[in-house]
């Protein structure tokens, strides 16, 4: 809590509870930022599970940048991978009486009680990506149709392989719904094509080093491989390193998901990675939705966004090779949707 230690005690007491509430957040943004559409002075709370991946970081950046644009104050919390911490984070945001909460969670089941608390307080709740459990309410949910995207991926494989080929699958962490969908949707399509064969599976927990090791084994075990289907960009890059070191890049193509790190976009541009299905972090869209709700605009409850395939053909829409940075994707949120 950034309470200034030089504020003398009597003064602080005089300021009273209301002012203390203001001190808790970063009070200067709202005063000096350009106030758009009467949102100045409003505060949004943002609760995340764990900021350690490029994707989650891109989400946080999206929220912070967009909130600045609107002149909204933002209180950012991070549960540090502990469901109990995310519960207290949400309860703290309720205590601070924020005007809206944006939530991104890996533990929809565990945090349900805290979500109910938010519901009871009547605070608008915008949910990013992973859906909540039945029995709790939310105002807006912005999500990617992961299953449909994985089916698109299946179609892409069938077409690209011409209905015949040997494929390695590299999986993320078990237990993650997104990981399961990326497997199920893809399998549901390619399993109908008898001559497309998944000849090996590696569980690499979204970890680049594990994907590298696993892919080395696969290259050793299989004389010919046509493609490598990975469930994330980090694992795609791990697999790519193994394939390059074995000098077998011409033999196969590699795909992944996410498309938020500049590195993978560079690899796509150079043609070493076939492509990735973009997985929007929705930070920007989340704040757009919150702003719409706070202005009293009509919003839908559920928005499902498709995942475009980033390949060599369109990579420059997502990547700026001159700066070596990913382009901030423009918001796809339309209240009427």
């Amino acid at each position: 809590m950034p309470i200034n230690s030089h504020v003398d005690r009597r003064k602080l007491l005089k300021l009273g509870a209301a002012a203390a509430g203001g001190v808790l957040a970063t009070p200067f943004i709202s005063k000096f930022a350009s106030a758009q559409g009467g949102l100045a002075g409003k505060t949004i709370g943002f609760s995340q599970s764990y900021v350690t991946t490029n994707w989650i970081k891109a989400q946080r950046e999206g929220v912070i940048q967009t909130a600045k644009k609107y002149g909204l104050e933002t209180i950012v919390t991070d549960a540090n991978h502990q469901p109990t911490k995310q519960i207290t984070d949400l309860e703290d945001l309720v205590t601070r009486r924020v005007d809206a909460i944006i939530l991104s969670t890996y533990y929809s089941e565990a945090i349900s009680p805290a979500v109910r608390h938010v519901n009871e307080a009547g605070i608008p709740l915008i949910v990013l990506s992973s859906a909540l459990q039945p029995g709790v309410d939310y105002t807006v949910h912005l999500g990617t149709d992961t299953l449909a995207t994985a089916k698109d991926a299946g179609d892409y494989y069938v077409k690209k392989l011409n209905g015949k080929g040997k494929v390695i699958q590299i999986l993320g962490s078990p237990g993650s719904t997104v990981n399961q969908h990326r497997g199920e949707g893809w399998h549901s399509v390619i399993d109908k094509v008898p001559e497309i064969e998944v000849i090996g599976q590696v569980q690499a927990d979204y970890d680049r080093a594990k994907a590298l090791r696993g892919m080395e084994d696969m290259l050793q075990a299989h004389g010919h491989i046509d493609a490598v289907y990975t469930h994330s960009e980090d694992m795609a890059m791990g697999a790519l390193q193994a394939v390059k070191e074995a000098g077998r890049l011409d033999e196969m193509f590699i795909t992944g998901y996410d498309g938020v790190s500049p590195e993978i976009l560079q690899d796509i541009m150079e043609g070493e990675i076939e492509g990735v299905w973009y997985y929007a972090p929705f930070g920007t869209e989340g704040v757009d939705a919150a702003a719409a709700v706070l202005r009293g605009e009509a919003v839908k409850k559920d928005y499902k966004f498709p995942s475009p395939f980033i390949s060599k053909a369109n990579v420059l829409d997502y990547y700026d090779p001159d700066t070596g940075k990913a382009k901030v994707a423009s918001s796809r949120f339309q209240p009427g949707g």
């Binding site: 350690t52 090996g200 680049r208 075990a221 790190s261």
Partner: protein
């Protein structure tokens, strides 16, 4: 490579009798592990024609060399009747520092991260000896603290080493003859670790303190200094593993080294070092780590599903410890 033969003699006459029996047990366990590894390799060769391929063997060794180096440090700690849960996080600290400081040359990507890792190990040692914290608690705290350091330093994202120094690329992906560089580093660390443990006064003191702290104190060993040293060694090993990991990927991953502590402990235990302290060897640990690595490799090569692999790994770790317990009772 069984060592530490006479380390406990310093601890006094009566302790020596039980210790010599302990060492006998350790030889038996190590012997059965060599046998287990041999059987594993034979099974691998018969199941997959690709297994006994030089490339494959060295790939597996390279993949496991980072955990292997951590396990050598862990052997010192467990021999000393301690435990170090912070090694995985310290690997992370070194990995991220190595990537972040790569532009400053060898001083930046090798020396600074390894020294800093040693400093964190020193922190463990001081917490345990000066504040009398239990090793489990002290290193648990360090595990969380050090991972926090990684996230603060990296702001939670991977640090890509653009234009990695050629020495870094060589260390991570280069070869000396047919042998990958990380394997050479692992072999050197194992060799030095074994020699120090077997042939120096310090090494013998590590055994003596682990076998019986009180006896060691009475026989004039500076117990606290010895205990601090093993945690520094463990930290340095983790630091070395961290820079190897970054050199291999040319990316400093904030999650680097996660759960390394468990593999390192598993390898040490499979290798016949016991939690009672005073019994075990670096050679045993090297065999332990190879059993774990080749097992995973064989299962991958023959196409066992990843979930089934975890199940088997758990069974084998417990089985290995049960077997060594049974041998112990028989000797």
């Amino acid at each position: 490579m069984a060592d530490g033969s006479s380390g406990e003699m310093i601890a006094g006459g009566s302790a020596w009798l039980t210790s010599s029996r302990r060492m006998l047990v350790h030889y038996a366990v190590t012997g059965s592990n060599i046998l287990a590894l041999a059987i594993l390799l034979a099974v691998g060769a018969s199941l997959s024609p690709y297994f006994l391929d030089v490339t494959n063997i060295f790939n597996v060794m390279r993949g496991t060399s980072m955990v292997g180096i951590v396990a050598i440090g862990m052997t010192y700690v467990i021999l000393n009747r301690g435990i170090d849960l912070s090694v995985g996080s310290i690997v992370g600290v070194a990995a991220i520092l190595s990537a972040g400081l790569a532009e400053y040359g060898v001083l930046g990507w090798v020396i600074a991260p390894v020294l800093f890792a040693g400093l964190l190990g020193l922190g463990n040692g001081l917490l345990i000896t000066q504040l009398k914290l239990q090793p489990f608690i002290a290193t648990l705290g360090m595990m969380i603290f050090a991972r926090g350091l990684v996230y603060v330093y990296s702001d939670g994202s991977p640090i890509v080493v653009s234009d990695a120094p050629s020495a870094m690329r060589f260390l991570g992906s280069g070869y000396l003859g047919p042998v990958p560089m990380p394997v050479i580093v692992f072999a050197l660390v194992a060799l030095i670790g074994a020699v120090v443990l077997k042939s120096t006064i310090f090494g013998r003191e590590v055994y003596a303190v682990g076998a019986n702290e009180e006896a060691a104190r009475l026989s004039g060993i500076h117990v606290q200094r010895n205990q601090i040293s093993v945690y520094v060694i463990s930290g340095l090993c983790a630091g070395l593993a961290g820079i190897l990991l970054t050199a291999r990927l040319t990316v400093g991953d904030p999650n680097a080294g996660t759960l390394f502590e468990l593999d390192a402990i598993a390898a040490t235990l499979i290798g016949g070092t016991t939690f009672d302290g005073g019994v075990g060897s670096v050679g045993g640990t090297v065999i332990g780590i190879m059993i774990l690595a080749f097992l995973a490799n064989i299962l991958n090569l023959v196409g066992v599903s990843p979930y089934m692999q975890m199940l088997l790994k758990g069974v084998i770790i417990v089985l290995a410890v049960v077997v060594s317990e049974l041998r112990k009772r028989r000797v």
